[in-house]
Structures are given as C-alpha cells and as structure tokens.
Amino acid sequence: MECGSYAAARINCEEAAMFRFIMRRLVQIILTFLLFLALSYVLIEAMPGDFANVFLQDSRLTLEQRNAIRVSLGLDRPPHERFFIYIGALVRGDLGISFQYYPRRVVDVIMERAPRTLMLFISATIVSFYVGFFAGKVLAWRRGRVLEYVTTVGGVTLYTVFTPWFGLMMIWLFAFTLGWFPIGKFITPAVWRRAPVEANVVFNWMLLTALGVSVLIFGWLWLTRHMNGRWRGGIRWSGIGAILLVALTLWLPSGLGRYALNILHHLTLPVLTLTLISFAGTMLLTRNSMLETLREDYITTARAKGLPDNVIRDKHAARNAMLPVVTSLVFSLAFALSGGVITEGVFSWPGMGEVLLQSAVTQDIPMMMGALIFTGILALLAHLVADILYAFLDPRIRYA
C-alpha cells in the first residue's frame, strides 16, 4: 500500500508501514534464530566424542565412574533429547551449566567475558571505521595521486597479513622493544593485586561511560544541527568538551581511575593492531561508494555553485556514500561480541573468542551454544537495525 501525498497522512502512513515492516522482520528473526539454533546444535553434536573424553586422562577412573560423570553432565541422553531439553531451558532463560567451568552457569561466564570482548572489538571497530571512512573519503577525492596508491597498497597488505604473526610483531615492536605497551593481557597484576573491585566492575563502568558519553555527544550534535554555521563548530566542541570533562570528573573521586587507565593502556595495542588490519575494508568500500557518488549531477551542481571542496566532499558526497559503509559498520558491531579467537589469543585477552575456542576444543556444548546464541541474536538484530537505519539515512527508501 503506498502512502498518499498529503503530508500528515503520509507521515502516519509511513510510520505504520515502518511498524509493519519491523513486526514482519521480528517474526522472521525469531524463525531464523530457531533454525540457526538447530543447525548450530547439530553441527556441534556432529563432532566426534564428547566432553567426558577429558576424563580419559585418569586411568584410575573406572568405566562406571566415567559413565557417572557423563550422566551428571547429561551426556548419556540421545542428542535429540538433549536438544529439546536445551530449547525448553532456553525459553525459560536458562543457558545451562558449563562443563569446563562446572558448576558455573553459562550466562555467568558470558557476563564475565562479554564486557572485555565488547570493549576491545567495539573500540577497534569504531576506530577502524572512522580511519577507514576518512581515508576512503580522502582517497576518492584525490584520485590518481601517490597517496592513493600508497594507502591502498598498504591497507590491502595489512588487510591480508597473517593476523597472528602481525599481532606478535606489534607486540614485539611496541611492547617488547620500545616498551610503550604491556605484553598482552588486559590488566597488570602488579597494579591489580590490591584492587578493591574486580576488573569486570571497572569494565562495565567503562562501557557505561562510553555509552553514556556517546549518547550525550550524539544528542548534543543532533540538537545543535540547526544552529548558525558560524558559531556551531565552537558550540559543538565546547559541548563535547564539557561532556568529557563531566565524565572524567565522575571517575576521579571513585578511586577506580587508575584501574581504568591500566585497562586503557592494555587496550591500546590490540585496538591499534585490529585497526591496522581492518581499516582497509572500510576504506575501499568508502572509496568505491564515493567514486560513484562523485559522478552524480548534484556534485557537479555543488561545484558550479562554488562550494568549498571539503563541503562538497563531506556534506554532499560522503553523506550519500555512507550508506553501504554504515551497513558494514552495523554488522561489524554485531559480530564484535564473538570476538576474535586469534586476536584474543595473541594478546592474551580473555574474552568471548577465547571462550568459544576452549568450548570447541573441549566440546563444552552449553558454553558453545550460549556464546553462539548471543552472537546470533546480535547478528540478526543488526540486520534489522541496518534496514531501519537505511530508511533514516536515505529518505528515498521506504518500506511497504
């Protein structure tokens, strides 16, 4: 059903259309999620052996004792029965008990590890997005120059480099040789031996602070978008500065500032490494999108009007070239929770990637399923968010 031309009615019609679209997508998401769940479980169960094999190391355990362990872990039941029991528990919000961390609940392990992974990979994703977007923007504008070739070749080289080797090289150079950063890990034991709280508490507060600051900055930019151009820049930066100052002021008296700084110190090198590895993807995507946009008539019109280059590039071209890049960003953020097994291993960052790896190696089915469920849900929601964002970013896109 198409919306008519009368403004108010059209707006209501479009909102209704969006609502219907979102509802349809949510139903699809639920169905897709169930399929994903079943497929994941089947693939995991298809692996030979089970977690009880780890007890084969102790020959003094009799067969009866090992069977008792299998029963206690529920491994005596047939796979399909285990799956249905798992689904039933999942609906009740119970992700089960981890085999390797027995008897800790899966959700407790995820809540412990997720903030660390989120902090690392969201930071790296956002930084690499901005670097890539900026570089792609500039490269498209300065086609044919030496800078374009150097940056493109360098970026692609880093994009295709062997990640474990590159990570170790970064550690060797910046941590071991120059001593600027710690050699992996996410906290320094010497600093944290007498800490009054757990690292996860500080992680959570850091994440909240980052979220709150981001929201406030976004809100401030949104509110000031219609201000007079001459004063807008100064007011915006003043507001951002004030927000950051407030955030800093809240941290100072808490006594946790040095611990947060220690985490940030450890965070820098892996974020830098991940940014170098991944920025080229965004850069090339932005560049290609920009090149297409630069051929549009309205860009020619903007030039003819005598607008400055940076205004044409940033306000007109980049704004419209951003669509595929934002989609890519949203998907990248969704997969941030799954972390990176290799990165977390090289940098000794104990996050979700490491949990997934250990779960797969030891066949800790509940833990693997729990981690995959979170990743799956985020990925599916990311698709929905991307579709909704498209509608906001491009007024031409409307859903029936």
Binding site: V54, I171, P189, W192, L211, W349, E354
Partner: protein, 690 residues
C-alpha cells in the same frame, strides 16, 4: 519535529537505564581479599586430555631459608609465573572432582599438604604431616584391616586453629559418604576404604574392608589432601543433606534408575562444588589470595607454615627431614652422598600466576623480565628453545618425562591377536632411526612400559625387539630377517612364496608378496589411526614410517592421520580400529598397567581398548594392586614389564623430554627431575630470587 527529537532522546535514555539496570553489582568474592597480615612483597597442545598429568600429592617442598634461619624471610619480589590457561575453580573439592586440570593444580597444589608425600628425585614415600612411615602389615580388627597413623603436633591452619586428626578423618569420610568421583575416588577408594576415625587429636585410623596394597593405602589415601573440618563442615552438611535425601538404587536397578540417581547426586553435590571458598584456612606453604578471572591468580606465603626452616636431605635410598627445635624424620639409609639438600621456606612473599594466551607472548614477557618462569605441562616448544638458548639471563633445562607414545593393536582382530605378529611389527619399527635421524633427536626410543626416569620401578631387563643383546639397534636387513623368522615360525608365509628381501646395492627392502596368515588367508589392509601433523608432528611422522616399514614387508597398512577426538571416539567408544597411536602421561606408582591391560578393563569405553587378555598378566596386575611392601611391588613391577615387553599389547615407541626456561636469578636446589619443574609446581616454596 520537536516531538521526534524528544522521542529519540527519551528512547536513548531508556536504553541507558536498561543497560544500567542490567549491569551486575560488584561481586563480593575472591577479588576482594584482605591482605594477609604477614604478607610482603608478583598448551600443544596444552590442555589436551592425554598430556595433562593427573594431580599428585608429590610433596612440593615448602622452601628453605637462604641464611639458615628457622623462619625464612618472605619479603621482596613475588615469584611471577606465566601459565597458559585460566583456573576453573578455587574450590579444592571441585578441583579434585569435576574440575581436574593441570592449571588448577599449579595454583591449588602449593596450598595443600598431606600425611605423606614423595621425596624429591627418588619419589620415595616419606612422612610429611605423619611422624613415621606407615606400618605393615595392617592390623586386623574384626572384619577390618586397620592402619594407625600418628601426626606431628603443633601444625596450625592459617586461621590459627590446630590441624588435628579430625580434619584428616573429615576429609576422607566426606569423600566416601558423598561418593565424590573424579580423583577423590582414586585417592579414597570406596572399594577398600570403609572409614577413617580420629582416635585422638593426633592419631588417625584407616579402616579397610580388605587388606589394601600400596596403590590403595600408601599411594592413595595417605597422600590425599586434608581439608579444614571447621570451615567445610557447614557446607558439607548442606551437601550431605541433599545427598542423604537421595536413595541409592538397588543392586538390580535398571539403567534408567541408575542414571536418574546419578543426576540427582550430581545436583546435590553442586552445593559443595559451587561453594566459593572465601578465607578458607590452609596448611600448605601458600594461601589463596586473589583470582582475577582470565588475568592472574595469586597465592601469598603462609608465614605460619609449620615446615618452614626444616632441612631436607634426600639420599639414594633414604631421606632426612629435620626442623631445628621441632622434629626429625629419618627414613631408609641416610649414609653416603646426598642427592639434594635444601631448606624449606617459602622465601617469596607471593606467587603470581599470570595467564597468557600465547606461548610466544609469554616468552617475550619472560625475556623482558615481566615473569620469572613459565609453567606448562608440555614444556617449551622445541622451536623456541633454540631462540632462547642464545638469550642472556635465561636458563634452559631439559628433563625426561613420565610418559610414552605407543602403537596399540586391536587384539580382537587377526592377526593383531597373534603375539608373533605384534613382535614382528615391533622388530620392523626402527625407533632409533626415526627418533634420531628423522626427528633429529627430539624424541628418545623406549622399550619398557615404565619410563627409565621412574628409576625405582623401572627395569632394563626386558626383551627389546629390534635391538641386539648388547643394546645396539639392528640394521634394516637384520630387522627384516628377524621378523621373517618370527612369522615363519608362527606359520605365516607370503603370497607366491615370495618373501621380502634386502637389496644391498640399493639399500632398501624389496617387497615380496602380501603376508599370508597361518589360516591361509591373505592379509587385508589394516588401518593405523594416528594424530595428524597439526596435532602432533612426532606421532604423525612415526605413523608414516611405520606404514612404510610394514608395507614394504608385505603387511598392507594405511596410516589414517586424523583428529584426536576421532581417534578417541573410534578407539574408546566404538572399539572400531585395527591399530592406533596415542600416548599416556603416567603416575609414579605403576599400577596403571592394570588399568591399561587387564582383561576386565576391555569393555566398551574402558581403557583396555585393544582387548588384550593374558592370564599371567592379569594375575600380576591384580597383585600389584594389593602388594604391600615396596620390594614385593617392585618384583611384581619387574615381572609385569617383562611380560608386557614380550606380549606387546602396545609397542611403546618414544617419549620426548620436557624443556623449560626460567630467569637466571631464580635459584632452585636442583633442576634435574622427572617431568621437570612443572611437576613440582615450579617449586614456589623452595625457590629463592636473587
């Protein structure tokens, strides 16, 4: 327009509120730990099942004083150790139960002590908390066999309360009554042990239903840990109530009833295993301080450790442990040159176990001085050894391991069930060539089922197929001829009557016909399951060479290099295999041979996957479980090794040394020991830092 803006901001605020509501509160747990008042002063294929040694009660010496003073100073820098996997628990019940892992043992091991332990280097049984060696024979009182152990007086828990016999009895009885599995079942064997009683504060009695052997008593219950009754009683009572409410199934219960009972039992035991042991009193040289999950764990020195300042001297056949003004324990022959002498500490204020995800990163940390030592059951990767040996400030050591890699046969299938066939295969495998030439000496060929490093139990007097009587390896030609002789005597032949021959000019074996079994059947292809090169390049290389040796001899074999779990699945859970290659990490007391080869362990899923059955061996294996003196047990051990070397249910192939590296400012009393320093948790209680 304004309403949209407001809606957007309101939505964002609601999101923030939701996130904050979901933020977990700071957990009041191990992270917030009061600083002990006297404290001062930072892989493989790790973690795979077969490379993980089971936790032992090998008494990790608790530390000597550098200046000879009775109370060693525990000031200065902490001992910083790198490990490669996080703990999964700090609950000792859980650690020896469902959460058995090497990494847990590294941190929790130094916190505990037992009535008895194993001496350094010789691994002889010695008294620790007990005053003397246990008496043999046990005294029979009615239907029970009883062993009475006297404890040293004056030992206190870290909370100041005395260690008494009630703690010892409480620990054992809890394991028995709650039917704890995992290592608890091996330590306090419910088949033999009925109960433990505290006669008085310092005397404890063990009551056995049958006369226990060394494996059950001396190397079982007596080296078991001791838990604080005062601390754990309330928790155990909760678990006991839950377990007490569950009725064990009748003897003839159905499988479903058995399984239902097991499920209820495990849920009840969760009360015990899930308890967070905050401020748990300990008697070991260290107490638990902090665990920052995924980052590090810390033990702090127990300044009231009873054994601090004791001087320990180990002899070839004896042991002496003297604490000035305290006690003196002498075992065996203490004349002659000592093997090692040290004083018990600890000499470091704390031990910090930092978790690294990658051995390369940990090595960089070691080189930079961020850590002092790396604990890894697999040791240092061989490729890193060469790099490290050139590094100033680091020491690299190499020690034999207590284990072996082997080739096993499915004796239920022909011709693997024929001893002559197995002997011929053993003769054809040139272990010396593969280990020294192909593998460049990174592995050592072995012939006995007990490694040479386990000196007391090892014997060299075993048949060694493929070696001359003087111990020199046979040539290829000699091996072929010897294997032909063995098989022909057993009735084998080759297709067309064409035997394999040795081509001296080209120095190779010329294949004849396919081997024909005594029944007249021509051999069909056998499958050899072995780990792939990504998992273990040593075993995969060996498998390829075994395939070649056997094929050129007329025994058709196909090496299937596959995943470790696939091998386990086919071998243990299906018993669908012809031959396979795996490995074992072993204990000091060699009763494991019974678990590996006794005919009653040949059921589906059990350890005798090859189905080996030999009445003479079964009898010897039963005897080693119940032998009651060291001499008697050793005699049996020697005979067992000879029988196994003749029967060859396995062809033991090789083992590798463990390589370790540490900062040269660490001073250990000794560095040569079976399974390396990692087997002694890095010796945190006797190491000094200069």
């Amino acid at each position: 327009m304004v309403s949209r803006q407001l809606m957007a901001v309101a939505s964002l605020l609601a999101l923030i509120a939701l996130v904050m509501a979901c933020t977990p509160a700071p957990q009041p747990d191990q992270a917030v730990v009061p600083t002990p008042t006297a404290a001062a002063g930072q892989p493989a294929e790790p973690t795979d099942a077969e490379d993980t040694p089971e936790p032992t009660m090998a008494t990790e010496p608790t530390g000597p004083a550098a200046d000879g003073s009775t109370r060693p100073a525990t000031t200065g820098e902490p001992y910083r150790i790198g490990i490669f996997s996080d703990l999964t628990t700090t609950n000792y019940w859980s650690y020896l139960g469902p959460n058995t892992s090497t990494w847990n043992s590294y941190v929790l091991g130094p916190q505990a002590a037992a009535l008895y332990g194993l001496a350094d280097k010789t691994f002889a049984l010695v008294p620790v908390i007990a005053t003397d060696l246990p008496e043999r024979p046990l005294v029979q009182e009615g239907e029970f066999f009883v062993s009475e152990i006297r404890m040293k007086e004056g030992i206190t828990w870290t909370d100041g309360t005395p260690l008494t016999a009630r703690d010892v009895a409480f620990t054992a009885n809890t394991a028995l009554q709650l039917r704890l599995t995992g290592n608890w079942g091996s330590i306090f064997d419910p088949t033999f042990l009925d109960r433990v009683e505290a006669v008085d504060d310092y005397t404890v009695r063990y009551y056995y239903r049958d006369d226990p052997g060394l494996a059950v008593h001396e190397y079982g219950a007596l080296v078991g840990p001791i838990m604080s009754e005062a601390y754990w009683s309330p928790v155990v009572e909760q678990a006991r109530t839950a377990v007490g409410g569950i009725t064990p199934p009748a003897e003839k219960a159905t499988e479903e009833e058995q399984e239902a009972y097991q499920r209820q039992l495990s849920e009840a035991l969760n009360e015990l295993y899930s308890h967070n042991p905050q401020d748990e009193p300990k008697i070991g040289p260290f107490t638990f301080a902090r665990w920052e999950r995924g980052a590090f764990a810390e033990n702090t020195a127990n300044d009231d450790y009873f054994f601090s300042g004791a001087e320990v001297t180990v002899f070839e056949e004896g042991y002496r442990d003297v604490k000035p003004g305290g006690y003196e324990t002498v075992v065996g022959d203490t004349d002659g040159e000592p093997l090692v002498t040290y004083t018990v500490g600890p000499f470091v204020p704390a031990v910090i176990y930092t978790i690294y995800g990658d051995q390369n990163a940990a090595l960089l940390a070691l080189q930079q001085g961020e850590i002092d030592f790396m604990l890894n059951p697999s040791g240092l990767q061989r490729g890193l050894q060469t790099q490290i040996e050139r590094q100033v400030g680091l020491n690299v050591i190499e020690n034999p391991t207590n284990g072996f890699r082997y080739l096993s046969f499915n004796t239920r299938r022909e011709p693997m069930g024929d001893r002559a066939f197995r002997q011929a295969v053993a003769t054809l495998i040139d272990k010396e060539f593969v280990t020294q030439q192909i593998l460049q000496g990174v592995a050592s060929p072995i012939y006995s089922f007990i490694p040479q490093g386990n000196a007391f139990w090892y014997t060299d007097d075993v048949p060694k197929f493929g070696l001359h009587k003087d111990g020199t390896p046979m040539t290829r030609e000699e091996r072929v001829e010897a294997a032909i002789a063995i098989l022909e005597e057993a009735g084998y032949s080759w297709e067309g009557g064409v035997r394999p021959t040795w081509d001296a000019d080209n120095r190779q074996v010329v294949r004849g016909g396919t081997l024909v079994l005594p029944s007249g059947e021509t051999m069909t292809e056998l499958e050899l399951l072995a780990p792939g090169p990504g998992y273990d390049p040593l075993r995969s290389t060996f498998a390829i060479w075994i395939e070649q040796y056997l094929n050129e001899f007329g025994i058709p074999v196909r090496a299937n290099l596959t995943g470790f779990n696939i091998i386990l699945e086919r071998v243990n859970n299906q018993q669908d295999f012809d031959m396979f290659m795996l490995g074992w990490s072993l204990t000091i007391f060699p009763d494991y041979v019974r678990d590996f080869f006794h005919s009653d362990r040949a059921g589906l899923g059990d350890f005798n996957a090859g189905g080996f059955s030999n009445p003479e061996f079964d009898e010897l294996a039963d005897e080693i479980k119940v032998c009651k003196s060291f001499d008697e047990c050793r005699e049996i051990s020697v005979r067992i090794q000879q029988v196994l070397a003749e029967e060859l249910p396995y062809v033991v192939l090789f083992d590798t040394n463990i390589i370790e590296v540490y900062a040269d400012y660490l001073q250990f009393p000794y560095t040569e020991t079976l399974d390396g320093l990692q087997n002694l948790y890095g010796m945190p209680s006797i190491v000094t830092i200069e």
